[in-house]
Symmetry: C2
Subunit: 414 residues, 2 copies
Amino acid sequence: MPDISTRGKLMPNSPIRKLVPLAEKAIQKGISVYRLNIGQPDISTSEKALEAIRNIKTRVVDYGHSAGNQSLRKKFADYYKSINIHVDFEDILITTGASEAITITLLTCLNAGDEIIVPEPFYANYFSFATATDVVVVPITSGIENGFALPPISEFEDKITPRTKAIIICNPNNPTGYIYSQEELEQLRDLVNKYNLFLFSDEVYRELCYDGYRFTSVMNIDGIGNNVVLIDSVSKRYSATGLRVGALVSKNRELLQTALKFCQARLCPPYLGQIAAEAAIDSTTEYLNGVYNSFLERRNYIVRELNDIPGVYCPLPKGAFYCMARLPVDDAEKFAIWMLEEFEFKKQTVMLAPASGFYYNTDLGKKEVRIAYVLNINDLKNAMACLRKGLEAYPGKMPVQKDVKECVESEAGS
Amino acid sequence: MPDISTRGKLMPNSPIRKLVPLAEKAIQKGISVYRLNIGQPDISTSEKALEAIRNIKTRVVDYGHSAGNQSLRKKFADYYKSINIHVDFEDILITTGASEAITITLLTCLNAGDEIIVPEPFYANYFSFATATDVVVVPITSGIENGFALPPISEFEDKITPRTKAIIICNPNNPTGYIYSQEELEQLRDLVNKYNLFLFSDEVYRELCYDGYRFTSVMNIDGIGNNVVLIDSVSKRYSATGLRVGALVSKNRELLQTALKFCQARLCPPYLGQIAAEAAIDSTTEYLNGVYNSFLERRNYIVRELNDIPGVYCPLPKGAFYCMARLPVDDAEKFAIWMLEEFEFKKQTVMLAPASGFYYNTDLGKKEVRIAYVLNINDLKNAMACLRKGLEAYPGKMPVQKDVKECVESEAGS
């Protein structure tokens, strides 16, 4: 039997999804599993999207344009205009989710062996997309001890080598909730111009900024147009992750023409998803405000609850719908597996995403988990009760020190 | 401005889609364009699929399993069983079209720089997928002069080098309509075993075999299970190309586990497309027979008509819904462009796919086009009238010799 490819072997298992088989086994045993591992909100998909699907009049579900339906591209452009991002519909390629937008962006801009700087912890699949395209990830580390504050931009400069070709940021950040200030983006702009780099910005959570923090798009940073790719998706905004409709947006025409060749090879984005996405962009303000308020309430609840569990530390995220929590355990992945395989509380348990897969150096996140606060408050209450009980019962639990913050800081150097 | 990647520059423009902007301009001028360039049938999508979409009861269009919905995988397994291909649902990964199945198969099985043997003319996007994954295409050439008969398997053996890792076939073939005999597949099996190679078989047109030719799946060739990947799609079978639902099927568990990691990175196949595909597999025999009979009628009509145009030669394809035609022109791509930019007949014209993009050595297909016989007979009649008139009027037309077949043969060596 011939060998699997080296890149196939190097490809990481998704830390978000690798425990799914264990969750399925738990469910088979009659246990309810609260899925805090994945950014899959329980919030209803925008009714506009569902209505468009139910009313579909199509006779032939045919290939569309490789760049996406023009009507959808125009709708995206209108939406961007409404939030003060000024792009033409021709600057927008519709992709099969933000996932494909990132893969095509990497293929278009970087050669095999080129380096991309990524602040970590990062969305774990960035590392997967880089592995699949033979791109080298160079991390800039931020830590839980100071709430994942971005390191000074000078640290980015220290990482630049002759192979550096791009920087990718996620703003607001998955998994940390960090929001980049305009000043930081301008510093990145200066760096990108100085070293002739691309800047990719994944802004799929832009509507979810809390506590008065203000989102700034890279598209609104002057003097950088040709270097920038905006990555987007309708998944989170309209609670429609399964549509698989995203976008790659740039003012750089050569980049777009090249990206279009990759789009042509896969023919077109999903027809039905595009119909639904186009309708979803007309979602009511009431719906969108409802989504925002739900996540705000969930964030406030879960961060308070987590920090109330002895030994757990969770900094307050500024945006998106994830938090990173440090647990008083020997190994967060072992704990997450144990929760699914060995534990139950009132026939319930919790599925967590071990954070090590969100770091380049997997040791860094060894005691952390990413929690997606995507369930309603009642489910979150039950989930937190399970987590609390689980941490009490877990054989690999660590002694809880008096002051949690102190404990975190003293361990930070280890 | 930073440079576009080398692989981005090397990425070919799709010969199937690169003329789309010219077609759009013709349409703006009020000209009807018969699209024979692309495998997009005008046949209605299976009503079962459309009904399932219109009746969707979903509240949340959520991420599904990265391997695809289990119910759809089981449905695929049932369908395969009904056509005597025996696989378990766990042998099947649902992908975003056959396109993604091929890309993931290449990433899973081949490293950058590895070689894949591909009989040419080939489905043009195979070359695109190989370029995107840094895989080297090694062509085995067949020619129009002998109806694209597959060269002896010994020619495959001559192409094998230490970097050869796989062979990919399309059976029935797009663009030639060639159908591999069981004997040929067994010869390929022996070769694959002898040199420890993978064998990928794209069988999306399996239902479309004419004139008594019999389709044999690689899954039914004994003694090769771990080397084989079957590529599939619901696009053509149920006239639902826009769903973007395909499959990667293998008995090789390590291969599947590795492929699943690539699937995890892009989260899941399209939700709505999966719902529609699952329903489509229950299409009535009446529908499926209707589809078959339409293509048979269209093939018979168009091949006769093409060969009736002075100087045109088109061998009879055995399967799928394409034919390759040699035109009496200086350059088939120039002619295809001219037909869109300069020509009209009764406010109509035809869009063709220049065949050079279906060959590794683009000179080989310089006077050929691929024609998809995907329109109803009336449209095909109008399209053929346009083509006939266009060939008469085209400034770069070549003198037509008395005996077409002779003309083709005398030019074959050039």
